[in-house]
Structure formats: structure tokens, C-alpha cells
Symmetry: C2
Subunit: 201 residues, 2 copies
């Protein structure tokens, strides 16, 4: 019943860790079980002891773990935002928090794998990404409602505004992580987001 980590658990974890790394770097199909075994330092047959259904079971496990890890809530409040500048600052902070999520190697790799190997996944497995984004819209919409500076805004405009803000964040994340292959948060990126927030607030 205790949470002791056995030697064999370590082997299983190592296989998952190496697989996640290689799937993200080279893609699922291009990564061979041999490469995984070699990098993980485990023998040929061993991975079929932990994953009887073979390579694809490893992928499923990785994607499943990625889903769970990412259920994180933002720890911010907008109820002390009395000026647009306050709000802008707070939203920039949220963007940096989101970016920080992808600084965690495991989160970043799960994200890349989910997009790149979309065709190997079920709709349910890919859905976590949309759910995280919708959750973010909900969270930001709720916070906007509590911002003193936005009290005069019509009730039905909070969600669309939150959606626009998430779109701004999402575009830059996809452009940088998926296309430019860049995980470094640069001043240039922040300088691009700020005027956009100014325009919509």
C-alpha cells in the first residue's frame, strides 16, 4: 500500500521517459523499439513485459499521462485591476505562466506528440488539448468579469473577449513551438503580444 518505488518501476519509467523523448524528437514511426531499448539501457524483450501490446501501448500511456499532468489551474485574480494597464500586466503574466508550462520537458513533449501523431490517436486522446484551451477561456472570462475596470462591459462580451485573448496566446505558442521550433521566451514575442492586448482591452 505504500508509495515505494521498486526497481522494476524505475525500468518502466525509464522506458516511458526515453520513448517520450524520442517520439517527440523523431516521431513515433521513426523511433524503433531497438533505439528505445538501447537508450533506456534495457534488454530487447523487457519492454514487452511492461507493455504487452508493444510500441503503441507506450504511445497511449504517454499521451494519457500528458493529459493528466496538464490539468493545472491559473492562480491569478483580476479583482484588483482598476486600470487597463493593470489588466494588461496581469494578462502578460498569464501568458508567461502558460509558456512556463511548456518549459517542463514532459509537457512540451506530450504536446508535440499529440499534434504530430494525431492520426494515431483517438478523438478522445486528442481532445485534452481543446479542453485545456476551453478551460483557459472559461478561467479568463471569469476573471475578466471580476475586474473593476471592466464592470461596464455588457455581460455577453466577456467570453468572446476571453476567446480573443486565448487566440492571441495560442497563435504565438503554435507558431513558436510547432513551426519555428523555439522554446525560448523572447522579448520580441512579448513586444508582439502587448500591443495586441492594448487593442482589444
Amino acid at each position: 500500500m505504500s508509495k515505494n518505488v521498486t526497481k522494476s518501476d524505475q525500468h518502466k519509467e525509464k522506458i516511458l521517459e526515453i520513448s517520450r523523448e524520442m517520439f517527440a524528437k523523431h516521431g513515433y514511426e521513426a523511433t524503433t523499439t531497438r533505439m528505445i531499448n538501447q537508450e533506456a539501457g534495457t534488454a530487447e524483450g523487457l519492454m514487452y513485459y511492461y507493455f504487452p501490446h508493444g510500441k503503441h501501448e507506450i504511445l497511449d500511456t504517454i499521451v494519457c499521462q500528458g493529459i493528466i499532468n496538464r490539468v493545472n489551474q491559473l492562480q491569478t485574480t483580476f479583482n484588483d485591476c482598476y486600470t487597463k494597464a493593470d489588466l494588461e500586466e496581469r494578462l502578460m503574466k498569464i501568458f508567461e505562466d502558460i509558456w512556463q508550462v511548456f518549459q517542463d520537458k514532459e509537457n512540451y513533449q506530450s504536446f508535440v506528440i499529440t499534434i504530430h501523431e494525431r492520426m494515431l490517436l483517438s478523438d478522445d486522446q486528442a481532445d485534452w488539448l481543446l479542453q485545456v484551451l476551453e478551460g483557459l477561456v472559461d478561467e479568463i472570462a471569469g476573471q475578466l468579469k471580476s475586474a473593476p475596470i471592466l464592470q461596464t462591459m455588457p455581460e455577453d462580451q466577456y467570453r468572446p473577449l476571453a476567446r480573443v485573448i486565448v487566440s492571441i496566446f495560442q497563435k504565438i505558442i503554435y507558431d513558436e513551438l510547432l513551426i519555428k521550433n523555439n522554446r525560448q521566451l523572447t522579448e520580441q514575442m512579448k513586444a508582439q503580444i502587448r500591443p495586441q492586448l492594448k487593442v482589444v482591452l
Copy 2:
């Protein structure tokens, strides 16, 4: 010197067409040269006559063609937009035009391949996507400037606003095409975009 299509050209085209289809559907690594030859109805050795460097040369050719095909300019003008409603309508039209680009099978497949096989491509090959998006920002920013209703807007806000609009479009395109696997333009999607445009205009 004439533009006559020889029999052999047709063979080459067929190989490219089938490859594009299968790369987009199953991924590059999961698509075997045998599958391509069989579907294209060509013999085993023939693809090495047209593509001496083999499978990867086919991928390169497909991505290169995708880049060229997509350099399309929007044929719209905003200089008759005297109300926000006019502008909103015109932007919805632009979104539908962009969506229409992906109704073309070849464009859609090139897009999916570029994202999914990103790690097999050079930065230059992946860059066309960013360039198309930046071109779109430029185009929309220029048009916004010519809109009578927006004449009072500060000069330096046109580009950020255009960028926000492109972000709104891009989010829904990525969500639908890459994650939901949906190419159908639904009323629900339009109903989601409209209030966002209202909020930012």
C-alpha cells in the same frame, strides 16, 4: 518548349498525388514505397527513375509545390466599409475565403504534412506557413487603413489589430483541421467568430 504533358509526366504526377494523399493520411514514415507504387499503379523500380534520391525526395517535392500553390492574394477591399457591421461582414468573408483554400485537397494535405512532418523539414521548408500568415497580417492591416470607419484609429494600431484578427482565424483553423479533424465549415464556427470580431472592432 510547349507545355505538352507527356505520358511520363503523368506517371510522375500520379506518384506525387498518391504520395501526398498517403503522407497526409498515414504520415511519412508509415507510408511505404510499396503502398505508393501499388496505389499509383506503377512498378517497383519506376519511382527511383523519377526520384533518384528516393522517398525523401518525394516529400521535399510535395512540400515545395505546396509552398508555391499557396501564394494567393485576397481580392477584397475595405474602402467601402462605412460601418462596423460592414467591416465585420467583410472580415467574415475573408475567413470563408481562407477556409476555402483548405477545401482544395492539395492545399489541405500540404498543410497537414508540413505540420506533422515538421522534424523532417528544413526551417526554410516550414517557413512558408509563417510567411503566409505574415502576408495575411500585412494584407488585412493595409485594408483596415483604407476603411472609412477606422480613419480615426491611431496609425500604430492597425497592425496589432490585424494580428489579432489573424489570431482569431488561425486558432479556429488549427483547432478544427489539426485537432478535431474537421474540414467542414459549420454555422457554429461562424457563430463563434462573429462576436469575437465585434469585440475587437
